[in-house]
Symmetry: C4
Subunit: 125 residues, 4 copies
């Protein structure tokens, strides 16, 4: 399939709530970058995390096989370091082939969960 | 009316929750692609679903009449195959005329429902 | 201020829930198009509603004064006709000066309210 | 890093709920503009607020250091004036270097919180 997307994306919002209600892992509060690689070659993706009070974390490296999607939980990123909970951050996502990125959060701090989602910002080609 | 939209869109987020609270069909957990065909000719739409661990499903074919909208529940797609619940996916939507695509989810796994929505990613013209 | 936005926008998602919990008017389930006119002249806006099973409704005409925003509840539109509840629709918003459009819904059908919001689709200039 | 984003953004939706449930400050109803400055120089940002019934408020001035993000709560803006609660508004965000802006709200008026988020509208370069 003809490549779809961009090679550089940004998500300005980022925050992993400290608390959760409901069964794990499904209803644990989490923050996700959904990345679609609709191309016919693997996408080598690197994620850099920006904070308000310290230097960046990362890059976190992920490979997305051809014609596959990965819903990456920021909660699970651990190499080179875990992303702190209850802390504001942003992310920049870079790939060697065009991908599509969408940002979502499930927040289950209170009795019923809340959701947000938005297309990430596609950097100019 | 002058055509509005694009012929190719992507939704990187996709997930149909397994559980629901509240009366069916309105409050069943569901995932929707809202597609507006504001043009004066029918739009022949095909949807391809991408997964993290297997090859794509589809294409699912839908016709949207002139000057009509269709809010397509991914839950209801069954030909060529049903989309599994509780599974990460992404979708690419292609049309022979320009359309506008928005993605929504109603998640009623817990007592009160949660909603998300975003414009889909419009591929470059 | 230099004009900001576009003259033509589309919102593919549209649905006014029939039920609500909580005090009116604040927590009545509602669907909103927030329209910002940052320019120094009035914006003459017309909204057309698209359905899945019938011809369009509208145009609904609204004037937004210079340097003002209007958060238009679709629930309140009544001329030329009320928008039916519990019915799928989409909307196209046209203006004679550039404006910015964002779509939101508050859904209070269950005990706790749910929210969604997205930037509308900006038609190509 | 190569600059990412735009120098001018708009958020058409804006509303700070008057009430909240849950512990402060985390679960106070709030409205946020998340601004990422991925560049290597400070970003001088100014925010102007538009209302439906009065002239604009602002500019509110914020500096975002190089390679930092700021999640700015509209609730906290106080110079030149506090933003009224329970009132519709929109915002325009201008910066001297490219930044990325995302809009979020946490609404805890009812027992469980609700969330919305969207990429802001990036003005044409």
């Amino acid at each position: 399939m003809e490549p779809i997307g961009r090679k550089r994306w940004a998500i300005a919002e980022g925050y992993i709530p400290r608390e959760s209600h409901g069964p794990a892992p499904e209803l644990i509060s989490h923050e996700t970058a959904c990345i679609l690689n609709a191309s016919d070659v693997p996408a080598h993706v690197s994620i850099t995390i920006y904070f308000s009070e310290r230097e960046c974390a990362g890059p976190y490296r992920i490979v997305i096989p051809p014609r596959r999607t990965k819903h990456i939980r920021f909660n699970d990123l651990s190499d080179p370091e875990v992303i702190p909970r209850g802390t504001d951050y942003s992310s920049v996502i870079e790939s060697d082939v065009a991908v599509v990125v969408q940002h979502s959060r499930l927040d289950s701090r209170q009795d019923a969960n809340a959701l947000l989602s938005t297309i990430a910002f596609p950097a100019d080609p």
